[in-house]
């Protein structure tokens, strides 16, 4: 009984300058949405740059995307992130039901999926390092040779290299590839840190007696990381 009362006090706890816990929660949610808007603008210039160079070096970008990015791996990663979005929803739902342990379990599942995403990215990155597909001065791929090598698969895709202007802007494609996926990957890592911290708090049983706003907000952040990937994936792998 006493512990129930203590729990009730914890649940209605709020900072002095708010009227009640619901008020504080509304403010926190609103703040998070603004932060997410700001995050989207952080990626804005990268997508702008991609749009510009994709327009300037259309054929090169199309060629490199088709031949040197594995759309299968991209798809796998998309699915992985979508599932992780689901598990984070489960965590939020468990937090609303005050099942702190289940919050922890769902968050661990999310973190594992995020780790899987990074492992796939790791293999994609190392593969590109080997092929010399690095941006700027580190770009060592012999494009003419490369095109000749992929003649067969290009034909299968219905592309005719003879009619394409492949060459200029090649290193630019990989500059943008590494910048966009790198910045996104950084967000994944930060997200894993935040979710990990939430998981620790969950296993301590905090969300059984405290309001679930932190879980909800970290979940929102994770959804954004997922959402940005939803734009990165077609832009880089499919266009």
């Amino acid at each position: 009984m006493a512990s129930n009362e203590a729990a009730a006090v914890e649940l209605t706890a709020h900072a002095d300058h708010f009227v009640d816990a619901a008020h504080e929660r509304r403010a926190a949610q609103f703040g998070m949405w603004l932060f997410l808007a700001n995050e989207i603008l952080l990626f804005g210039p990268l997508f702008t740059a991609f749009a510009l160079y994709r327009y300037l070096y259309r054929d090169t970008f199309a060629y490199l995307s088709a031949v040197h990015l594995d759309w299968k791996l991209g798809t796998v990663n998309t699915v992985v992130l979508l599932v992780s979005s689901f598990t984070v929803v489960v965590a939020g739902w468990a937090a609303r039901c005050r099942r702190s342990i289940w919050v922890g379990h769902a968050l661990i599942a999310t973190i594992v999926l995020a780790g899987g995403f990074l492992v796939v990215k790791y293999f994609e990155y190392t593969h590109k390092f080997h092929e010399g597909l690095l941006p700027g001065k580190y770009f060592t791929l012999d494009l003419a040779h490369d095109v000749a090598l992929h003649m067969e698969s290009l034909r299968e895709m219905g592309l005719n290299p003879a009619q394409m202007r492949i060459g200029p802007g090649a290193s630019m494609f990989f500059a943008l590839y590494f910048l966009i996926t790198g910045l996104h990957g950084l967000h994944v890592v930060i997200g894993m840190g935040v979710l990990g911290w939430m998981a620790v708090r969950a296993y301590r049983g905090e969300f059984a007696v405290r309001n679930d706003t932190p879980v909800e907000l970290s979940g929102l952040y994770w959804h954004l990381v997922d959402l940005i990937w939803i734009f990165v994936y077609p832009t880089l792998y499919l266009l």
Partner: protein, 548 residues
Amino acid sequence: MSPAESAHFPRWHFFNQTTGVMSWLTTLDHKRIALMYFGAVVSALILGGLLALGIRLELFNPEPSLVDAQTYNRLFTLHGMVMVFLFMVPAIPAVFGNFFLPMMLGAKDVAFPRLNLASFYIYVTGALFTLWAIVHGGVDTGWTFYVPYSTTSVVAVAPVMLGIFIVGLSSILTGLNFIVTTHTLRAPGLNWGRLPLFVWNLYGTSIISVLATPVIGIVALLVAAEIIFGFGLFDPARGGDPVLFQHLFWFYSHPVVYVMVLPAMGVVSEVFATFCRRQIFGYKMLAVATLGIALVGFFVWGHHLFVAGQSTFDAGIFGVLSMLVGVFTAIKVFNWVMTLYKGAVDFTVPFALACFFLYFLIFGGMTGIALAVISLDVHWHDTYYVVAHFHFVMVGSVMMAFLAAVHYWFPKMFGRMYSERVALSAVAFIFIGFNLTFVPQFLLGNMGMPRRYHQYLPMFQSLNVASTMGAFILGLGMFLSLFALLWALKWGAVAGDNPFHSRGYEWNTASPPVQHNFHTPQVIVDGPHNYEGPPAAQPTAKVAHGVE
């Protein structure tokens, strides 16, 4: 004004309710955070000002005298970056916004006090890091760090980019905090139609901070990545486009002009209302114009690219949109002037400064309209005309509003009154000095003197001498003003709760306020600055408030 009329200094207030250095360094009180910002931005102002004096000294003579070309480039880079990123952007929002936004909303604090303190420390970290990086790296790119110069220069530009990113993060967090505070912490009865105009302007500013600052952040990181890894993103030799940098840079750096000017407009609206004894004429139009400027400001960046190879069609659109900002600004100017008309004007230091603000805004703004005309811009581009224009509109008006805010709210913040006579003469020096500095620069620019050179043709000397003398008069006025205020801090007469008899909400408490701002929960029954009828019930500050 006779502040002494039976005024008493309250026993308990936010300065003495908790004491010790740690109580300041770890404070969550928005007022204390505001005062810490105050110290930081004034330090930046003094540093930037001294650098400006150094630049003017060098330009006293046509031939190189004090410093060589390289040092001169570093001087104006440091001056520009300190003034723009460390002083002008945070000056009014971080100091007076932090202090008065919650008080104007009848709230106890901002929505996220911890985040507020964090953004202060992020600012300090970013500021110190940027200063170190500029000085240590000898950065000479100018505050605009245009590519390809910044990416090929032998000096270390990359760390500065990181510093700018950090400072930007701080202004994002402050903006976010202000928006949420305005939405969620308004006192009962304080609907949007009753918000003080200072709040409206902070709101517009915050939107720009949150939406534009991430762009400059990532651009700074891209430049850093370009330098470190040689990505070639802006390098034509690798297929990159330097003009892309200019687009992205100005997508932030034009709206940031409004991050500086909107809060200034807010201050001036409060000052005019108080000293004309009436609510601002056309309150709603002013609020709408504020949001209009914030919105249109996002779509005018191209006026910086008229000579950068932008298509004529784009240039035309950007030119017309830029003039639209002038329309919104003109609406504001007309409303302020209408407020003055038949207002019961009380000529005080803040009022004088607000009038100076109008002067700089009008002339700075009109020279801006002239610059938005493509054919004229081609002639004036990168001359002293542009330098004079943005110093008039950004520095002139923002500095006047900053000083107006200082003098208007000083008694509220510190509970003491400065010497009106000394302050007024300081302000006169500042105004005269400012004009003497920059009016000659308009003329020089029109005669064709380019900016950013440490020497010039002998024919330009007389005007440059005038400009340098003006700068020193301006500096003299600034220091006089500083000393008058520092003196008042200790020995000024006790101001009383409301020496200006203002009916802004923030005056509805003791001076200086208590820790949670008000002795009683605020309920708003009327718009701000309603000077008809008897004043709203004043707080009974005699009640000693315990330490919380």
